[in-house]
Subunit: 152 residues, 2 copies
Amino acid sequence: MIKDKDVYLNERVEQLKLACQKQGMRVTQQRIEIFKEVAKSCAHPDAETIYESVKERMPNVSVDTIYRTLASLEELNMIFRVDNQLPKARFDADMTPHHHFLCIKCNEVYDIFLEPGEELVLPKNAEQYGTIKDVNLQIRGICKKCLEKIEK
Amino acid sequence: MIKDKDVYLNERVEQLKLACQKQGMRVTQQRIEIFKEVAKSCAHPDAETIYESVKERMPNVSVDTIYRTLASLEELNMIFRVDNQLPKARFDADMTPHHHFLCIKCNEVYDIFLEPGEELVLPKNAEQYGTIKDVNLQIRGICKKCLEKIEK
DNA sequence: TTTCTTGCAAATTCTTTGCAGATTA
DNA sequence: TAATCTGCAAAGAATTTGCAAGAAA
């Protein structure tokens, strides 16, 4: 049974509060709102998109606060930057291990979760380069939506 | 037996010339020099580094030509952009399938080649998102050089 | 000669920073 | 209250663009 979205969001906000306290960082309205914005989206939004959405609820928020907060949230390990070779950084608040499908036409980013029991096999000689902290598999291609558009 | 580096470089330059002709693009000194600079480096250089090196041989070359040329070479499929969440784009002219180890301390990028017969197994449900064009595995961690420095 | 490219300079885009007032613990 | 955080404005870094002169086909 899938957990209710609001319950999940509240849980994550509580985790954020704890993480802030642990690091001696303050729990501010901006941090909560910006984090919630990333956490509730599945579109891996960029800074500007987050700014536009948060501004609806906090009209005085500024772009630089978005950037500073995203950097703080990243340090707290509450969000991470999705690799993409595009100029705008994009963010993801889902910290469970997963990979991404990146559409080269529309730049949409889709999450790819491994099935239970499935595990990504790393190249045999990967470990000889050093200590591995993080593995990121990115699959680039044309997403179903864009394929449909092309066919028409 | 490993092919001689200069022979390899010349071959690749010939490929570039053909690719240009095929696309109706002109074979210019700048394109050749910039391509060679990327192709002979194994450091996955950024635009500025390429600019500095090319300038030694072509003092009048400009930064914007570097950027424009890198974009053209990318379109010609002669080089590609290495994913990294850092502000500077980095380039690789080795188009044989391989992956990358990215050091989070020194930002060095190491190539990871699969052993003969080895193959990367994709997540089972990867194909349901669309047509796959390119698979990119990025392993982040601390490289051996940096580990040694830390130990000291 | 005709079209594509380059160099120059200026502009754009995304992101970061300094500082004084506001907010959290 | 004491330190962190925010908004404002301005700066910064990386990259892109318009245009006229230059080079390739």
